[in-house]
Symmetry: C2
Subunit: 329 residues, 2 copies
């Protein structure tokens, strides 16, 4: 016992040293200002032993939306680029698609035309591109695609179009004992192949939308076949449900950028004890994109009002971020 | 950097010391024999640096069935005792239940009669006892019940009727860098309130069956309302699906006791690299219960054959366990 105690004591000293080293500037890509201050003030009060707001390590759960919060979602969500590319890659095997909606429109890059068919069209697109294969096969398709696909504006891999200030924030929270989760409306199996490498978030800490799967033995080998049927839509009301299903704890901090994240922030704010909610506000047309209340795909409208009413942090991308992407000079 | 390196080196030495201390007898309630040897041999080969079977820490995922694998499931699964007690506790508010099936039978402890109504009867019972409240309210009901309810044979709290050898196995695996998960057909929210205290397994590492929930703001307070509708049945084929959904990795070790766990063991065995599958065989009528191929609720039939064919470990409760429960003299 004595040996264990002295090891723990030694470890505590060592970790305290490490924390001090980091604390010199945990968020170098953030300008000094109210957003940065609100983050560090929150982390300090929930991690300080003896503070009335102290939160034990296992309860330091932080949930992050992905599209528009951790990486760029304009001009289209990345998974939509993936889907378009898949349709094009598969088209030679489906010559009839040239005259068959929703594929005919997709092959002409006419997304609006393709989606005119509503939910049925969307299901057909998902079926053709995301189902009818095993999870392992899908993982390989995603891994191969994301290794080469580039963002049309930045001409960088999509995984380089992640926000440097948010990467620092993830690392800062983890260094302070937080467990960081992604809670995204995007496909869970579309994200898992690369989130650990890009964000340091392992597969078991990714919550997302999913289609149903079926367990099968194929020649003795167990596989999960991907079925053309929605399993769970991890957006809006679905986010608190997904959080509870996967984590079973209330987050103490939540980060989003649209009204699709509002329920996650409300759920987080509604727990007892110190809580932190943050919206990334895209107001930087020069370095990234500017969109909020009127955006058709990622509207931030009610969320802006509620953030103002409740004193949540709203990050001005233009003013609060020293740089947006690591590839910037 | 130098400072960090020396800290890490120090830590490695300290942890190696701890491991050695534990290794003196990590499994004292297991008799020396093939089952115990198979466990320690597996753990040693996957944790030994440089071994061809070495598995990095993040991939050391072990999944455990709960009923009959970690705690006693006879004469009835514990959640069924809970359900019966809930019906009785709620009966005064529902005087009509005296003459209304399936409740009339339940109130006379006639489970067979109650379940004669099939799925509809089951749904009515679940609706009355598990739905129509928030998750937090349900958590409190479970917590209160499990604090006082006792096993009819042992006259001990149900949470004391957990298998001491399996508690040691959980701790041994965790000491060797494994992440231990429950993957149970039981209700996820029925387990989460007590699994950390009893097994050291936190809520985010519990996978189970669930009913649907709905996010609501009740007077501004966010809640998840429990709905009378099945969300996910985490049994048989459902276990690999639940594992993928929650963890997104293939387990390298899986532990069960019935054919309901067979697909989980098949899935685990089907991954590449060293794998370990174990069945607990209930053949100890004296200290616990004896049941296998013919049991109506927890049949172990195909599983026994497949274990024999594939060389999985089958624990003879009678021969391999020095003691079954901690409360034994």
């Amino acid at each position: 016992m004595k040996y264990i105690h002295s090891t723990v004591a030694l470890l505590a000293v060592a970790l305290a040293g490490l924390t001090t080293t980091h604390a010199q500037d945990p968020l170098p890509s953030w300008n000094d200002g109210p957003a940065k201050i609100s983050i560090t003030a929150f982390v300090e009060k929930v991690t300080k032993e003896g503070s009335p707001d102290f939160v034990p390590v296992p309860e330091r759960i932080a949930t992050f939306d992905n599209d528009g919060t951790l990486w760029c979602e304009k001009p289209l969500p990345v998974q939509l680029f993936f889907t378009l590319d898949r349709v094009k890659a598969l088209a030679p095997q489906h010559p009839q698609w040239k005259d068959q909606e929703p594929f005919a429109s997709l092959l002409k890059d006419d997304l609006k035309g393709a989606l005119a068919g509503g939910d049925r069209a969307l299901l057909e697109i998902i079926t053709a591109t995301h189902a009818g294969m095993t999870n392992e096969e899908f993982e390989k398709i995603v891994t191969d695609w994301i290794a080469t696909a580039k963002h049309p504006k930045y001409q960088q891999p999509f995984t380089a179009c992640v926000y440097q200030p948010m990467l620092e924030l993830l690392a800062y929270l983890r260094a302070n004992g937080f467990k960081t989760y992604i809670v995204s409306g995007g496909g869970i199996e579309f994200m898992r192949p690369w989130t650990e490498k890009v964000y340091g978030i392992p597969p078991e800490q990714v919550v997302g939308s999913s289609i149903k799967t079926k367990f099968e033995l194929q020649g003795g080998k167990p596989v999960l076949m991907r079925l053309p049927e929605l399993n769970f839509n991890d957006d809006k009301d679905g986010k608190p449900i997904g959080i509870n299903q996967h984590i079973g704890r209330w987050p103490i901090a939540a980060f989003g950028n649209s009204d699709g994240d509002l329920q996650m922030l409300q759920y987080t704010a509604g727990g007892s004890g110190a809580r932190f909610c943050l919206y990334v506000h895209h107001n930087d047309a020069e370095r990234e994109y500017a969109y909020d209340r009127q955006d058709p795909l990622a509207k931030l409208d009610k969320g802006l009002d509620e953030a103002a009413a409740k004193g949540w942090t709203v990050v001005s991308m233009k003013d609060d971020w020293k740089r947006v992407f690591a590839f910037e000079k």
